[in-house]
């Protein structure tokens, strides 16, 4: 975009897929350690409050969690396939696959909306009177972590959707193509990170009780 001011200057092509990939991975490492820190907080509190965590986890709906796991795994496959389509030169297929991934991502958020909505209607949200008055310390910690970790994860879903928007635009106007796939590749890597985090969130919150 800065090119507009220096339109007369010849810019060398700085495209470098390997550097792009390293940069993306370095960013993913920071994300892994961010969620990793939260997972450590979770495991310490679980260790200190085993019964409360056991009890609180029964409140969560395993079905909706499993459903979201399945659709997120499918979406990871579709965005991985879009890279293959782009490399084969099937531009339309690549776009269609990213669009499918995008729609599944929206579906995940819709489920999350209903899931959190049910919690809210039961009077469970961070700092709610129901939580402060009726729950033990351990249950409050469980739901606090539940909202923070699934909320932060949902935020990553939203960011992933925005990046997908740029990837779709890039593939559509030809700036992202078989010879310059980095934007789509990195978009995929980010989406897989989101999937990876959910792979751990799902059993820790929904399954262990």
């Amino acid at each position: 975009m800065a090119e507009h001011q220096h339109a007369h200057v010849e810019h060398p092509d700085m495209y470098d897929p390997e550097s792009s990939k390293i940069g993306m991975w370095l960013f993913i490492f920071t994300e892994l350690l961010l969620f990793g820190g939260l997972f450590i907080v979770y495991s310490v509190y679980r260790y200190m409050n085993p019964d409360a965590f056991h009890l609180a986890a029964e409140e969560l709906n395993t079905f909706i969690g499993a459903f979201n796991t399945v659709i997120l795994l499918v979406s990871s496959m579709t965005i991985a396939m879009s890279t293959t389509a782009l490399q084969k030169g099937h531009k339309k297929v690549a776009i269609a696959l990213v669009v499918i991934t995008f729609i599944i991502g929206i579906g995940f958020l819709v489920n999350k909306y209903f899931e959190w909505g049910i919690k809210f209607s039961h009077g469970i949200w961070p700092g709610s009177e129901q939580m402060l008055n009726e729950m033990s310390q351990g249950e409050i910690l469980f739901f606090g972590l539940y909202f923070v970790m699934t909320g932060l994860h949902a935020l990553h879903i939203i960011v992933g959707l925005i990046i997908m928007g740029f990837a779709i635009r890039g593939v559509a106007n030809g700036k992202v193509n078989a010879k310059r796939p980095s934007l789509l590749d990195n978009c995929g890597l980010y989406w897989h990170l989101v999937d990876l985090i959910w792979i751990f969130l799902f059993p820790l919150f929904y399954l262990i009780h």
């Binding site: 260790y47 890279t83 897989h192 820790l204 262990i208």
Partner: protein
Amino acid sequence: MSEDKHQHIVPYRLYVIVLVALLALTFASIGITSIELGEFTVAAALIFAVLKSILVLTYFMHLKYDKPYIKLMVAFVFAIFVVVIVITFLDYLYRV
């Protein structure tokens, strides 16, 4: 870019196989945690999660086809995470 020459194109079929494996592991983990295993429930759930994440990292995130140094960096970050968990629990388990 010389990179383009040895860029590996992963066939669609492989992604489908990986997805089927991931779904199978998901349902297996739901199944195994629904049985009362007591203390082992957490371990069982985590083992399945680790298996799934290895599949995602290896195939979806292309680590299998990446250069060794990228694999090494990823392994290093996970190793740091494991070390921090171990140290944290060494602290909590042996507190008086």
